[in-house]
């Protein structure tokens, strides 16, 4: 240190632009023009599409009109179905958020503002494509029309919970819907999805896999291991990064957003990367469809960054007003995904405000009815839970002696204690 005539080094610690109480100004937000990004052939070499990792695929313009080569030209019934599924996710979230606040379960996570990233993606995939979700992709199950009651049973850990009350709420598993069991450890599903895709390719199957993580989890080692594997074996996998700007209270800068985009993670691995307006359901659909066609054509993996915004807190255990400006979500320049799709279908003349309001009432009623049915099987705190000795099941395929012994010990101890 001494004797060196050099200025001292300094450590850069990222800081978000807006904190609680700050007025939010997105005037300098570089709003990409809808329809401006070229749509490459599905077999395009990753090196030739680097710009796609830094641009942003957008289809819907400010008036709700579909623009440019990425317009997936969906049939009216598909558009309306996607709209309905997104509305249903929002209604479902609202219902269960309130149930948590009423003390009926321990935890809940909304995906408000991010509905398009799951719903539109699920619509662009085949039903038998395997999904490896993170914890905010309840939309995949909704889009695959999985029973709401079954999802709620999991959230309430009640008698109907097929997972026997072992997982935190929202950590669903639905093998029949090709929806993988959710882990609370982040990005672990990334190499698993790549492995599934590799297996499918090795067996000459036609199914592909898709995986989701948040932008914060791209810092995990598993993410990078997975990208290496995906690139090396040209795995038929779609690697989705949901950039919702916040990982609990850490803004995306702590995952590297100040230096580059998340789609650009693909560049270093020689993977096709697409950066997409995640609040534009048509852009999400088109990008997913492109990536799925690419994977099915043996052209390899695609990394899609869905640029979106987490309009609510991270979870019910979190208070976002403590670390970010309340104006951020309302001023988010890319708008709300449901409002934008609604504007689009109204502009097309296939929808109107009255039908939308009726649909909102209908999906709210559906969720209410499902909740009633689910709560009849119990909620977390009302004592109607799984048989207590079921906790020893499924550790191994067959219960070994030490678990049998411990199970018996628990039964004896409870009996002695009069429980």
């Amino acid at each position: 240190m001494t004797g060196r005539n050099l200025p001292p080094l300094s450590l850069h610690v990222p800081e978000p632009r807006f904190r609680p109480g700050d007025a939010v100004d997105f005037a300098d937000f570089d709003m990409p023009v809808a329809g401006a990004v070229a749509r490459p052939e599905i077999g395009t070499a990753p090196a030739e599409m680097r710009d796609h990792s830094y641009a942003m695929v957008r289809v819907l313009d400010d008036q709700g009109h579909a623009q440019g080569p990425w317009d997936p030209r969906l049939a009216p019934e598909t558009l309306l179905k996607m709209l309905r599924h997104m509305a249903l996710v929002r209604a479902y979230d609202e219902r269960l958020y309130r149930a948590q606040r009423q003390g009926k379960t321990s935890f809940y996570m909304k995906c408000t503002g991010e509905e398009a990233t799951s719903i539109a993606a699920a619509h662009a995939l085949d039903y038998d494509d395997m999904c490896f979700p993170s914890y905010r992709q309840q939309g995949l199950l909704i889009a695959r029309e999985w029973p709401l009651v079954d999802m709620m049973n999991q959230v309430f850990s009640n008698k109907g919970d097929r997972l026997k009350g072992r997982q935190m709420p929202i950590m669903y598993s639905a093998r029949q819907a090709n929806f993988f069991s959710i882990s609370g450890n982040l990005a672990t599903q990334y190499p698993q999805a790549v492995g599934w895709a590799m297996a499918s390719a090795a067996r000459g199957d036609t199914r592909i896999s898709a995986v989701w993580c948040g932008e914060g989890s791209t810092a995990e080692g598993d993410f990078h291991s997975a990208l290496t594997f995906a690139a090396v074996y040209r795995a038929p996998v779609i690697l989705n990064v949901i950039n919702n700007q916040w990982a609990i209270s850490s803004f995306s800068g702590f995952a590297g957003a100040e230096a580059t985009t998340f789609a650009a993670r693909a560049v270093g691995y020689g993977i096709a990367g697409l950066r997409v307006d995640g609040n534009d359901a048509l852009a999400v659909y088109a990008a997913t469809q492109w990536a799925a066609d690419r994977a099915r054509g043996n052209h390899g993996p695609t990394l899609i960054e869905h640029f979106t915004y987490r309009a609510e807190g991270h979870s019910t255990s979190d208070d976002p007003t403590k670390y970010r400006s309340a104006e951020e979500s309302t001023n988010w320049p890319l708008g709300d995904p449901i409002a934008r799709l609604k504007q689009h279908v109204i502009a097309l003349g296939i929808w109107d405000e009255e039908r939308h309001a009726a649909m909102d009432r209908e999906v709210a009623e559906l969720c209410k009815a499902a909740q009633r049915e689910s709560e009849a099987l119990g909620t977390l705190h009302d004592g109607l839970k799984q048989p207590f000795d079921s906790m020893f099941e499924d550790v191994f395929e067959e219960m070994p002696w030490h678990l049998k012994e411990q199970s018996q010990q628990m039964r004896d101890e409870r009996k002695a204690a009069g429980i």
């Binding site: 093998r175 450890n185 492995g195 594997f229 550790v395 191994f396 002696w401 030490h402």
Partner: protein
């Protein structure tokens, strides 16, 4: 067969019987593995069933879990057990708990093979015995063979098992049994009866220990290389010890252990891993729980020291014949 050949034969037989079995790991394909355990398998079964991987252990295990979810039965190799730590999360949080957390919807029937243990001048990065880390994890099975016959039969049983299994291969005895006398020449497996390995299919059931040598004075609990160290010490000292090769730590054959200790009244546990919270602690506790009134002396543990594995001082670290002999004397004096 030596142990490498026995392991190779086990994988070969399983792959021939079941198309779903795939082998992956660093250098396991064309080259056949740095210890040659997978030699010839890629040529026989093709590159989509036996393939090299990037150097990322969490990737190897994560990909294996994904392949298992698809319906395959992966047999990943971690080149040295010392390198398993980057894969720990995939093993502990994912593979081990997948059946439980999904209530049986998804399972991870993978068999992770990895060479472990010291005595090869591998320093602190090629000598560790991390088995205790995995026996602590609910949902994993831990298997450790001590000879070619068991290696083949246990590996076949592990690969066919529907739970995730960690198969630790004591690399010091790949080519011949090692009694801990590093100054004596090591004899090849071909001079020992355990090298008479059948060419065909057979299984050695998981969860069943083997009585290596019956005896009345003291029970020695060992696995892997330490089985041979114990045999050497007992032969030299002329103690009538019953030596038990545990073969699998989870599930553990407590019945055989308890029966033996109740008979002998004395117990010495020997393993290469560090002492504190090592598997010897579990064995001592179980013996105490189940055999307390039969014990005539405190259970002794002979283990590696609670330090990283030193390179040049390897033989001072290794729980060799001198230290085991002293422990046997102590336990016999009481």
């Amino acid at each position: 067969m030596n142990m490498i050949q026995a392991i190779n034969s086990a994988i070969d037989i399983c792959m021939g019987r079941d198309d779903e079995i795939v082998v992956l790991g660093e250098d396991v394909g064309f080259f056949g593995g740095v210890f040659k355990a997978t030699e010839g398998l890629q040529a026989k079964y093709g590159k989509t069933r036996v393939f090299d991987t990037p150097i990322t252990e969490c990737g190897i295990i994560g990909v294996a879990v994904g392949m298992a979810t698809y319906g395959l039965r992966p047999v990943p190799e971690i080149q040295f057990a010392d390198y398993i730590y980057p894969a720990l999360d995939q093993l502990v949080s994912e593979a081990a708990r997948l059946r439980y957390r999904s209530a049986g919807e998804y399972t991870a029937p993978i068999t992770v093979r990895t060479p472990f243990g010291g005595g090869i001048f591998g320093g602190q990065t090629h000598s560790q015995s991390p088995e205790g880390i995995f026996t602590h994890v609910a949902g994993l099975k831990t298997v450790i063979p001590s000879n070619p016959y068991d290696a083949k039969g246990l590996l076949i049983a592990a690969i066919e098992d529907n739970d995730p299994v960690i198969f630790f291969e004591p690399k010091r005895i790949y080519n011949g049994p090692f009694d801990g006398h590093y100054d004596r020449p090591v004899q090849p497996w071909s001079k020992f009866p355990e090298s008479a390995v059948p060419e065909g299919y057979y299984r050695v059931e998981l969860g069943k220990a083997r009585i290596v040598r019956p005896g009345d004075d003291v029970t020695i609990l060992a696995y892997g290389t330490m089985v041979h160290v114990a045999q050497g010490v007992v032969a030299d000292a002329g103690i009538d010890a019953e030596i038990i090769d545990l073969r699998t730590l989870v599930p553990l054959d407590l019945e055989t252990i308890a029966k033996s200790v109740k008979k002998t009244g004395r117990c010495v546990v020997v393993h290469e891993a560090t002492k504190t919270s090592g598997f010897g602690a579990e064995l001592s506790a179980l013996v105490q729980e189940h055999c307390f009134h039969h014990l005539e002396a405190p259970v002794q543990r002979v283990t590696g020291w609670d330090t990283p594995y030193p390179h040049s001082l390897e033989w001072a670290y290794f729980p060799g014949p001198v230290r085991l002999g002293e422990a046997l004397k102590r336990v016999m004096q009481d």
